[in-house]
């Protein structure tokens, strides 16, 4: 296998990190929905945390994407 195809495969593998981000974001918002459904009055208190959790979960997936870009365009 030559280097170019190995790079392509490596970049594709690095994108598997997005699975975790998808699970994480889904988890964050499902927890938000069930929390607000149980106690609608708590929405202003829990919503900022949900968005913080969303941003943090999304970022972990993007770390993988950054690795994919590094493999493709830097090395």
């Amino acid at each position: 296998m030559d280097l170019a195809s190995a790079k392509m495969i490596g970049a594709g593998l690095a994108c598997i990190a997005l699975v975790g981000a998808g699970v994480g974001i889904g988890n964050v918002f499902s927890a938000l929905i069930s929390a607000v459904a149980r106690n609608p009055a708590a929405q202003p208190q829990v919503q900022p945390f949900a968005f913080l959790g969303f941003a943090l979960a999304e970022a972990t997936g993007l770390f993988g994407l950054a690795i994919a870009f590094l493999i493709l365009f830097v090395f």
């Binding site: 913080l52 999304e58 770390f63 950054a66």
Partner: protein, 243 residues
């Protein structure tokens, strides 16, 4: 690949005014231009409407007041007592990241925060500053931060290295989080723009998708500035109150 895609071209730093001191290249680039614009806009937003401040705020004065109150509230709830002194730092950090992200969303402008060196410089300032604050306030007692309380000694052997690692990895996660979000978002916009340019009348679908992604990117731009500022507050609380 048949498509002519250059999704990463938008991140190229172009020299506008070449400047050299010895071997040092300090040229004024498009990135510097956007940073200058961001700083000028923030300064204008904060100074002009409040120069003749009125009790009932006008449109621009209420924008300035909203920004101020938002960050003041964030510092108060997240950084705890004694953190009021660091409000100006968190505020300028938040406004700079927010304005850089938003200015980058304007088509054909430049996203400063998509450069790892910019975000890493910001994160390194936060990290070094917070560590200095902690050491100045607590002296050698600051090292308690790495030793969780009420933990058996045997477990400490495992926990202290983990705490140390998670402390020293902070500037990297803080900077890569912002940088990767901006990079991924703008690359995605450019990729779908490239699709639109190459599929003829079917271009309406990628363009519609681009509009949706743009909406997401506006959310992400605000959210990442918020996350950057709130994590700075949390690090400050760690340094000021040691858990």
């Amino acid at each position: 690949m048949a498509l002519e895609l250059h999704p990463l071209e938008q991140f190229k730093v172009e020299t506008l005014v070449p400047l050299h001191i010895g071997n040092l290249d300090i040229s004024y680039t498009n990135a510097s231009l956007l940073m200058t614009i961001a700083v000028v806009l923030i300064t204008a937003l904060m100074i002009l409407p409040t120069r003749r401040a009125s009790l009932v705020p006008g449109r621009w004065q209420s924008v300035a007041e909203m920004g101020y109150e938002f960050v003041a509230d964030m510092v108060e709830t997240n950084a705890g007592h004694g953190a009021e002194a660091y409000f100006p730092f968190v505020f300028s950090l938040f406004m700079f990241v927010l304005l850089s992200n938003f200015l980058g969303l304007i088509p054909y402008s430049y996203t400063v925060t998509s450069q790892i060196i910019v975000t890493f410089a910001l994160a390194a300032v936060v990290f070094v500053g917070v560590t200095i604050v902690g050491i100045a306030k607590h002296g050698t007692h600051f090292l308690r931060l790495f030793v969780p309380e009420g933990v058996p000694v045997l477990l400490l052997v495992l926990l202290v290295p983990i705490e140390l690692l998670s402390y020293f990895i902070r500037p990297f996660t803080l900077s890569i989080r912002l940088f990767a979000n901006m990079l991924a978002g703008h690359t995605m916009l450019a990729i779908f723009g490239g699709f639109a340019a190459s599929v003829g009348f079917l271009a309406i679908f990628p363009v519609a998708l681009d509009v949706a992604i743009m909406a997401l990117e506006v959310l992400v731009a605000a959210l990442q500035a918020y996350v950057f500022a709130i994590l700075t507050c949390l690090y400050l609380r760690d340094a000021l109150h040691l858990h």
